[in-house]
Amino acid sequence: MVDITIRKRPYADAVVTQRKFLKKTARGKVVKILRERYLRDDVACGIENCRECDGGSLPFSGVASHKDYPQGHFLLPDTNVFLHQMDLIESPHFTSPLIILQTVVEEVRHRSLPLHSRLKALITSGDKKIWTFYNEFRSQTAVVREDEESPNDRNDRSIRKATAWYNTHLELTRPVRRGQPKPVIPTIILMTDDAANRQKAKEEGIPCHSTRSYIEGLSNFDDLSDLLAATDSNDLPEATASSRNVTLYSDYLPMSTLVAGVKGGQLHQGHFNANQYNYLEGSVPVPAFSKPVLLIGRENMNRAVQGDVVVVEVFPETEWKAPTDEVVDQDSTLKNDDPDNSGDEEEDAEIDAEEAKALGRGRQEKTQSSVKPSSERQPTGRIVGIIKRNWRAYVCHIDGGSLSSTLSTSLSQQSVFAIPVSRLLPRIRLRTRQAPTLLGQKILVTIDRWDITSRYPEGHFVRALGRAESKEAEQESLLLEYEVPYRPFGKAILDCLPPEGDTWVVPPKSPTSLDWQNREDLRDLLICSIDPPGCQDIDDALHARMLPNGNIEAGVHIADVSRFVLPDNPMDSEAAARGTTVYLVDNRIDMLPSLLGTNLCSLRPHVERLAFSAIWELTPEAKIVQTRFTKSVIASKAAFTYEEAQIRKDDPHRDDDLTKSIRLLNSLALKLKAARMAAGALNLASPEVKIHLDSAESSDPIDVEQKEMRETNSLVEEFMLLANISVAQKIQESFPQTAVLRRHLPPPRTNFEKLQDILQKRRRMTLDVSSSGALADSLDQCVDPNEPAFNTLVRIMATRCMLSAEYFCSGSVSKDTFGHYGLASPIYTHFTSPIRRYADVLAHRQLAAAIGYQSLHPSLHSKQHVETILTNVNRRHRMAQMAGRASVEFYVGLALKARGTRDGKATEVQEEAFVIKVFRNGVGVFVSKLGIEGVVMFKNDHKFDPDAYTISLTSSTGKEATIAVFDRVTVSISVEKDKNTQRGKVAMSLISPVNTTGL
């Protein structure tokens, strides 16, 4: 019999093995948490061929790349290094072998989740020589907190102890042997930027360095020095900005005070939104007020950056203000600021004056004529603290004007301004040696800190993306700006695909085949797919046929993605993280590996594919008699484009079964649509344009045109809506707590106020927003017989007043808010595009469980899990839309440029546009033909009537004209390269009714 030994822990050991701590829960309770740890003597050090420890991946003798350690070394960084210098560590130039302590990993996780996931990715990627040492579990390195020791001190001590242990461990395992040369023992270097910690380490005889002094000793210092983040560390050369003792901002309140203030209702918490038209203004939507809290001026915005979670203090009501109606561009106001500027009071004063002027303008007149603005005034306040920074790497250009030396040979370090592509972000000051080479490139910059004495945040250079306006650089910069994960799929993910790869086929039908179990054989049905031209990921197909009883059977067949994407494997997690496929003009960032998207799960014609089918029995009036769902095997008979399907349907000579079924589908779709419209569905519009690419190789856009809508588009849409609604009902019935649904909340009435007012004043039209049906009707009334595009414009503007649709977990919100406002459906989900949307994959799994095909993965029973996934999918979805739009915008710019120079010489592009917004010193216009929006700015002051939404201009020839919202104007559009930033900017000027060039 095998001996069983039970080693009981002696009572006295409890001090070492038990970790207890108190925790305050979110609900304000205090709990005492007790953790038991088991200390062992066999936690491996991770160095190859160690006499004592098994396994290990670090080189036996370290690396000798540091000049102070010719006998080799390993690097052991402390927590702050990972918190502040992650870009440095991640750099491919940084090759030192790293020992990462468990203490450090845990501390990083407590301090910053995003950095923790970057650290985890770094450890698992295998690109670097990294060993994670579980120091808290090795008896020699486990540390018990001493009395009166702060957690920080304890962790520092634990890190020092581990470093010391490593050094002794190496000595002990490589003893001197007689007759053999003395073994070379590499050093373990503690890297910390905390001077006190270094002092203590020195006293204990532990070799240590600050990050800067360490990399200065490396042979490739020049490659790394730019990546060094600016920290408060005192061995950094005196930061130029902070040497000036002028305090520009007030200090933040301590976190606990902020929390208390927010709880007590004196302070308000929310996300900071910068104003893209005016860099000196921002707002924070908070639950306590119906309008967002307005922040005016640098001091009140107090160093907040777009997306930060901030706490604001609201001023008394007498100091509330209205947002400005002026465009204030930081490029022009701050053009004279010098990044190296240290204490030049005069220049500072100049900027202050300039900014004060920009702020004061427009507002002054407001107070004079401030009889009515009480309605326009909104809560005004200032930021007193930041709960969470949302800083990431931003795509920027170097401001050429800020360079002190443009000689490309100059390698001296200089301070320059980086101007982020996004108008919502402030300029970032950074120090670099490569400034001249980076000029004209798109680069990635991270913000490190923002001191109260510095007008701008300090950052550091991460990497260059390539020449500005080159397609590759712009493409990547778009993906980065909208945080789209675009790395190729890793091996672990690709391993989840069927091993047959391309050659995978549906196995032959047999009772023993797993794939055929509980699957219906629908291979004989006349199924076809209708998609846009060039579509590769065909995820839906349709069929319809007459039934003997006079009713019609219609079916929607969706690619059975959940057959391949199994819950909780690496591919599933990656898809959940990506959330959606992102479509750019000439590129597609897939959510799933393309083997699935464009082959195995693409319902191509003439091949057998696995599908998930929704099949209805409908009366000829399109009333549902019966609905059923089944997993199936189908073989599509044809893949049409919308145009082909349309032609085939309309061709009177065609009378084959496939054509008949398309006609049948179409007749049903028309009735379905009519019913939907009667129920109050909205016909919304958003500007959609199509980019014509010249040829595959050059992919230079040659022209832009608006997308065409055909009857068959609507045919497919109707059936997809029907499928989504039916599935939503089914999964909600089966899983009332965790069903994955999609809703569109009715917009608050106040959102429409401005549009209603404009329509009333300018066109004497009323917009009834009491319900979606009423809105649909009144939108239909907004017609100007002379302006066919006017109705579309109003629809676009109305759409912008609405909230966006979102995924949600059915158990998380009350049942009466399930409705989809735009579709006027009481319940809705996404089921029909599992290849490109992750929510659909979840809906597939839930539906499969609802029909008893397979059991539901436990994670989909957890409300919290579903909520977390859907929050991410919602965000990704939003980002993907914005990235797509930005991509179109970029190509429209390129196309305009191409059009402008088509005949060899520069010509202006003139287009008709509608005025959609009037500012004090400009007008916002929408060019429907190109789907772009722009601002025409005037240099001089003009007569501006904010109540009537008009501005009166006098041209240089003395002609006077009044421009109002909804007026049709002609603008000249050119792509102008911003001289300083190399940013391609769409510049517009009015041609008619007044030529405003030079105005």
């Binding site: 409890a14 925790k23 205090v30 005492k32 907190r145 304890r154 005070t257 208390a260 007590g264």
Partner: protein, 294 residues
């Protein structure tokens, strides 16, 4: 546990004989050896286990934040102590579940009566003045009853409270713009505001002891049999006793020395003329009984 009449009379005879005879050889005022250990439940804020003879009581003390406007509107700004005693079936194999519940309830009431005295409330239970305070939950578990249970129970509760550490908290408040030294308009507006919430000062530290842990009471049960009284009765002896008189003493703040004060007196058993009680009282406290008795 049932005992026969003859057993009871045999035991009683031994006790009243001169010199008194007890089955374990003790004199009338001797206790059986008391074994006490504290901190037996690291999860609790305070805990203790006390064994005396065959009786064993385990007590856990938990501190919980109570806030203004709680569910049952029982918030007390100075904190409170809640007691609960549970008798396990293993301690009383012969009792039916309802009888066990009754017994648990009776013991809870005795304990609660004593600890509801505001004089015993530690002064450091206030977290956020007027808004949040600690509630001390005392949970006692009777795992064996070998007689003299009340004494053991009170002893165990006192030991657990002695062992208890209340997490140290720090109040946080928003004082308004004065902290930033900005426009004067706001200073006055916010100055009157109070602390709204608290945070834990040091999440690795257990916290501080209860402020007046010296005062927490113990109980001494006098078992009365004709004209004599004896302490720490075994189960059999308590059956033989005619009645029981329980004195609950608490101690002065500063030291354990000096005169303990009586917190309460309970009497169980046959009716007894009051003058007879006096004969059992320790000298010097007879007046107290008249003044402070329940």
């Amino acid at each position: 546990m049932s005992t026969s009449k003859s057993e009871q009379s045999y035991t009683a005879q031994g006790l009243i004989s001169n010199p008194p005879l007890r089955s374990d050889g003790r004199s009338l005022l001797d206790y059986r050896p008391i074994c006490m250990s504290t901190g037996v439940y690291p999860q609790a804020n305070g805990s203790a286990k006390v064994e005396c003879g065959g009786s064993e009581v385990v007590v856990g003390v938990m501190c919980e934040i109570d806030h203004e406007g709680n569910e049952d509107h029982s918030f007390s700004a100075n904190g409170r102590i809640k007691c609960n005693v549970l008798c396990t079936p293993s301690a009383y194999p012969a009792h039916s579940p309802p009888a066990l519940d009754d017994l648990s309830y009776d013991l809870s009431v005795i304990l609660s009566d004593v600890y509801s005295d505001p004089g015993l409330l530690p002064s450091n239970l206030v977290v956020v003045p007027g808004r949040k305070s600690w509630t001390i939950h005392i949970d006692a578990l009777v795992t064996a009853d070998g007689g003299n249970l009340l004494d053991v129970l009170f002893l165990a509760v006192r030991a657990a409270l002695w062992n208890c550490r209340v997490p140290s908290t720090k109040n946080i408040e928003y004082k308004g713009s004065s902290q930033l030294g900005n426009e004067s308009a706001f200073v006055t507006q916010h100055r009157t505001s109070h602390a709204a919430d608290f945070e834990i000062k040091d999440f690795w530290e257990d916290g501080e002891s209860l402020a007046n842990r010296e005062t927490f009471p113990i109980a001494i049960t006098l078992n009365l049999l004709s004209s004599i009284h004896f302490l720490d009765a075994t189960h059999l002896e308590s059956m033989a006793a005619q009645s029981r008189l329980i004195f609950i003493y608490s101690f002065s703040q500063s030291t354990l020395e000096g005169n303990p004060t009586i917190r309460g007196i309970k009497y169980f058993g046959e009716a007894m003329p009051l003058k007879n009680v006096h004969t059992h009282m320790p000298v010097g406290q007879q007046t107290l009984l008249v003044l402070g008795g329940h």
